[in-house]
């Protein structure tokens, strides 16, 4: 659509700009400010340059949780994207069943994150939880509170439960936008289900899948509440992710300088990965056409 050049449109954007600037720029500048100073109290602050950044980058705590974070986000994406597409393909397309499955699928998305943690805590505990009880009943030793592998698997399963619906609903709405004529043409050509999926459905889903991958990457990278409630980051540090390490640093130990430097690095990683993903996708797009 061709738009009209009109700089007075800024007046319409101004409220958003002021509001977001108030709650984004001021805090962000505060963080930048802290990250280059050593603060003893209100009157004693020294400029230390990039020292905190150097410290933080060499800190094994950060390196470990960064590695865990990437593994976590990677495995979560690897499961949720294909599963979400599959669920979307299986969803009924019309009638009461369609509304019902929409509502059912959306339920996990609307549960407060700490309640999600609580639900899985209750569900997966070996003594009172259905899942833990059933797995132990089958003769497999399972306890997410003491075994690092079990804890890891439980946290990933929880995230799959929590967020696959988002991908499924995104894809579902993408699928609804494909005109019937496409399917009829495919029928005339006697295309197999796989061919229909590969040549008609998947290309049409690309737009929503980009949104889905981006949202899931960003949110899984910021995950805090659910593992905090479920495992408290343990056993040991096996499920301590970046946000939790950061919160411990900033509020638990009050290391404001390093925590601020850590924050900046954290934010930059999210921005960088999102930007890389976005440009790669749009570059691929250009090469094709």
């Amino acid at each position: 659509m061709n738009k009209i050049q009109n700089n007075r449109a800024w007046f319409l954007v101004l409220p958003v700009f002021i509001l977001v600037a108030f709650s984004a720029i001021i805090p962000l500048m505060t963080v930048v400010n802290y990250s280059v100073q050593d603060i003893f109290d209100q009157n004693n602050a020294y400029f230390v340059g990039v020292e905190w950044y150097r410290d933080v980058l060499q800190d094994p705590r950060l390196q470990d949780s960064l590695l865990r974070q990437f593994m976590y986000s990677g495995s979560v994406l690897a499961i949720e994207i294909p599963l979400g597409i599959a669920v979307a393909l299986m969803m009924p397309t019309r009638g009461a069943m369609a509304s019902l499955s929409l509502i059912l699928l959306a339920i996990p998305l609307l549960i407060p994150w700490n309640v999600v943690g609580t639900i899985w805590q209750i569900f997966a505990r070996a003594d009172i939880g259905l899942l833990g009880y059933a797995i132990n009943g089958m003769g497999i030793e399972y306890n997410y509170a003491t075994n690092a592998t079990d804890a890891w698997l439980t946290v990933v399963l929880m995230d799959v439960w929590h967020w696959t619906s988002l991908i499924a609903l995104l894809c579902y709405s993408g699928l609804r936008a494909i005109p019937d004529a496409y399917y009829q043409a495919a029928k005339i050509d006697r295309a197999s289900d796989w061919a229909i999926f590969k040549y008609i459905q998947l290309p049409k889903l690309k737009g929503v899948l980009i949104i889905g991958v981006l949202l899931r990457f960003m949110d899984s990278f910021m995950i805090y509440t659910e593992p905090f409630v479920l495992t408290g980051g343990g056993p040991g540090n096996s499920t301590t992710f970046l946000s939790q390490t950061l919160t411990k640093m900033a509020i638990g130990q009050f290391d404001i300088g390093p925590a601020a430097a850590f924050s900046m690095i954290y934010f930059l990683i999210v921005l960088l990965v999102s930007w890389l993903f976005f440009t790669t996708i749009s570059q691929l797009d250009k090469n094709k056409t």
């Binding site: 738009k3 009209i4 050049q5 009109n6 700089n7 007075r8 449109a9 800024w10 954007v13 409220p15 958003v16 509001l19 977001v20 108030f22 709650s23 984004a24 001021i26 963080v31 599959a86 669920v87 299986m90 969803m91 509304s99 929409l102 509502i103 339920i107 998305l109 609307l110 549960i111 407060p112 700490n114 309640v115 609580t118 209750i122 569900f123 009172i128 259905l130 899942l131 439960w161 609903l169 709405s173 609804r176 936008a177 289900d193 929503v208 949104i211 960003m218 910021m222 805090y224 509440t225 970046l242 919160t247 900033a250 601020a260 924050s263 954290y266 934010f267 999210v270 921005l271 999102s274």
Partner: protein, 266 residues
């Protein structure tokens, strides 16, 4: 084929519902029963856990606090995002693309990064422990998303409608409210759904910015962990009650959700 599909979707629905069912199951049991016996449904059905919540103001006020800031957040978000989305969908202006991208980067900021500065900022202007502080903090995430969604919906309305309205003598505010808003009502529904969703489920910022008067229900739930272990029954009941508002909201927007989840872009 369609049989296979039905089995698949049923299996997935069970996977979604089972943990929720377990929570509901627990909420109707007494603590002795939860810890003593293992059963798939409550043997001695009890409302005692819900009674604890409905009779103790420090419990049920948590729900009012949460709902208050979520509603405030939705209202503020809509009020500022509507004109902005209109500007982005209809006009070119200096820095429009940069501004749009900058807005979206705020959606990418980890809340943990803003924890400390937010605390200091809202304390210094005297808004600490108020509903409006939490609502404003959540705007950081809800406003960019709202602008994005609304812009998609607005772009699908042909601009001839705007022009016809001006020729008919409508002023901008009158056109916007009387003609334009009804056209994108499903977009508004979806926007409210998303701002509700992200504000209702967020805990980290809400907990940090409140202490007593505006404490959200999600933070109050941590009280159930006492000296003699966790009060599983009350915890479950409180959890069940936090799910209900979400189900109500999704029920109201269920017909728009298919279009809305694609952010109006399909």
């Amino acid at each position: 084929m369609s049989r296979k599909k039905n089995i698949g979707i049923t299996a997935y629905s069970i996977f979604v519902l089972l943990p929720v069912y377990w929570l509901i199951n627990m909420s109707f049991k007494s603590n002795e029963e939860i810890l003593g016996t293992f059963s798939l449904w409550p043997q001695q059905f009890t409302f005692a856990n819900y009674q604890v919540i409905f009779t103790d103001p420090s419990w049920y006020n948590g729900y009012f606090n949460s709902i208050t800031y979520v509603v405030l957040n939705s209202i503020i978000t809509l009020l500022v995002a509507l004109p902005a989305a209109y500007a982005f969908s209809r006009y070119k202006f200096i820095g429009d693309k940069h501004l749009f991208f900058w807005l979206l980067t705020n959606r990418m900021a980890p809340p943990a990064v803003f924890l400390l500065p937010f605390f200091q900022l809202y304390s210094s202007i005297g808004l600490f422990d108020t509903h409006i502080a939490v609502a404003l903090a959540h705007c950081l995430f809800s406003v960019p998303l709202a602008v994005w969604i609304l812009e998609g919906f607005m772009s699908s309305v042909p601009r001839e409608i705007d022009e016809t309205a001006y020729i008919d003598g409508y002023s901008f505010p009158r056109f916007f409210i009387r003609i334009f808003l009804p056209l994108i009502s499903s977009g508004i529904g979806v926007t409210v759904f998303f701002s509700f969703m992200f504000s209702w489920v967020e805990l980290l910022l809400a907990r940090t910015l409140t202490s007593v008067n505006a404490k959200p229900i999600a933070a109050i739930m941590t009280r159930t962990i006492g000296a003699d272990g966790i009060d599983w029954g009350v915890l479950s009941a409180a959890g069940v009650l936090t799910i209900i508002p979400g189900i109500l909201v999704i029920y109201f927007v269920r017909n728009h959700v298919a279009k809305g989840f694609a952010l109006g872009r399909v």
